[in-house]
Amino acid sequence: MEDMLFYDRMQFAFTITFHYLFPQLTMGLSLLIVYFKWKFLRTHIDKYNDAAKFWMKIFALNFAMGVVTGIPMEFQFGTNWAKFSELTGGIIGQTLAMEGMFSFFLESSFLGLFLFGEKLLGHKLHFLTGFLVFLGSWASGYLIIATHSWMQYPVGYEVLENGKFVLNNFGALFSNPWLLPSYLHNQAASMVTSSFVVAAIGAFYILNNKHHEFGKLFVKTGVIFGLISSLLVAFPTGDLAAKNVVKHQPVTFAAMEGIFHTEDGGSEIVLIGQPNIREKKLDNKIAVPNILSFLTYQDWNAEIKGLDQFDPDVYPTNIPGLYYAYHIMVGLGTIFIGLMLLATLQLFRKKLYTTKWILWAIVFMLPFPYIANTTGWYTAELGRQPWLVYNLLRTSEGASPTVSSGNTLFTLLGFIGLYLLLGLLFLMLAGKIINKGPELEKHA
């Protein structure tokens, strides 16, 4: 039984981690593509249209990867988490079915038109199809986060005698206090990923002395969007999301921040430290006094509950994992703001394109928004453990009763092999598109 739960959780974690590498780019990128196309409609300068088309190629590749790795997510609810699906399907099935009906059809229909239809449609309609693709991908994110929010903070439900959760207030699913902060935080974070990717490829072009004009355009656009979005990720969206955790999952918050004991006279903020579960303390820590209390309650001396205030039975299952995920996310977010501030400064001094070290830093920063997004997702998910539906349904009660651990292990290995192949092919093809660059578009 324990084996099975472990493999089920590994399989879900592995497949969703891999899956989410793609939508986090496409959601943000769709907005940037709409921006480029809009610039073209206003200025009629070809380079903006070429830029939109170039990023659409990257988008299409990522979108295809997102779709093929997304279908297993839906399947796994039924295959690996049958008990969970049976008990909560009447509620989360609602938002997931809406995602299929409202966003997937929109995206897939208009992506085809955007990719194949420029000549047939003319530029204005072509812009519209791009906008609809953007709308679809953001709606998709919204409905997924609505599902996720219900698991974090269940609303609008009642529990029947047989343990089934049934919906009694549809509106509550979408006015869930957990939903809006999470959604905005998530979308801002996906803007960070796409801005950094656009900037990094621009910087790569400049440093390599090719596609120079596009290099500058991409760096400029990426840096400006990158600065705005990395600020938005921290404030107000990140702040609001964290306040939700404080309010509704205080034990999670204590574990995230590594507070083992409630302290009198305000809590310090830990910059670096290693949670030591056995001795219930942080090793090797560097901390600043009272900041955490202020950030959380706007009061330097507010008390923040430590883990000692809670029953160990409801502790997050993996406290060090949660602590590190959260701190990596926050640490990287801070670095993003710093780098983009510097880059924007250089941009306004008209020195960005010649400041090689910043360009190099932007190129090397490419993987880190992905890491930040992933650890952010882990923070939310590990924070909810040991619950599937917070405080109501334990993860151990949600797995499929008839599927053996051998089968789950077998399919886990299958997914690892298949996704390894997918990942390699993706890198190869993305590399090819990037290397070819946007300028050759016109002659193709």
Binding site: A60, L61, A64, V67, V68, T69, I71, P72, E74, F75, F77, G78, T79, A82, K83, S85, E86, L87, G89, G90, G93, Q94, L96, A97, M98, E99, G100, M101, F102, F104, F105, L106, S108, S109, F110, G112, L113, L115, F116, K119, L120, L121, L160, V166, L167, N168, F170, S400, P401, T402, V403, S404, N407, T411, G414, L418, L422, L429, K432, A444
Partner: protein, 358 residues
Amino acid sequence: MELFWYIVLMTMLAVYVILDGYDFGAGIVHLFFSKTEQDKKAITNAIGPFWDANEVWLIASGGVLFFAFPTLYASSFSGFYLPLMMILWLLIFRAIGLELRGQVHNKMWEAVWDKAFGISSLLLALFFGVALGNVVRGVNLGGVVDGVSTHEAHYFFLPLWNPSFSPHSEELGVIDWFTLLLGIISVVALTIHGANWIIYKTNSDLNEKLKTVVFNLNIALVALVIISVTIWHIIEPNPFHNFIKTPMLWIFPLIMLTGLFGTFKVKSFKKHGIGFLFSSLFLLGGLTSTVASIFPKVLPSTNNINPDLTLYNVAAHEYGLNIGIYWFAIAVVLVAAYMFIQYKVFSGKMDDVGYGEH
């Protein structure tokens, strides 16, 4: 209310089978009948702008199944664990085959992805037929061993096959001679369907040859349908009881037969697309007839201890089903509009439309 969502779900599945069915069929045609680069291009062009959206019908149907019939979703998805995972991997393989083939111009690369696309299309067609066979045949619900239910009444697990390969053995498997037969019917029917789509959508040199292929395969299909209906009573003692009780239901087999015999005239159709219409009718009629024959069961139980799953005992709670109608109505109108736009923009013969390479 359950009945409403059941009809919605079955309609969505039928749309999925008809739409993604021609994609699979095109894949099978691609595997067996395309020799030249030109043929291959014609085939992939014919499904290029559509297959992605077609597959969304599967995801959306899955979503509706999950929300309206959560118990059926949980029971069947965990029960058919292994075959569903295989289907999943095949869907992924097929999609990357289609997406990647044109990205690199290299003989070996193209050959590999051509085969990936063709073989996974073939296996998917087979597996979907096998899946239908399983639903008709039923499963050992509750996992009964020696007269005792080993799990909750609606949970079960099926291995891929049983050693005796028989639909009557104590331990059932997903593949036995009965389900395999339905799988083969599915492959033949979808090949015809896909070929009809290619004839409809392209000016390919392949088209004349494909008409002969469609004609010949249709003979095989008639034979297979006769065999399967004849042996149906081995699985189900009284397969026509619903039809006898409610004669209205004969409309479904009638639709199927119209499609089946209409397809024989493939060589003399003046307007393109008529053949496709007939093979769509066959698929629609075949699916609905099968569904009608087991109604209101959605998954029969092969043991006498645990009750069949019917659409009434697997549905979600009233409130959710009621409220779902509102958003679903809006969504359906939107989806119809998208499909209209999509098929309008890419209407006509594919070769005549100058859309870019992808």
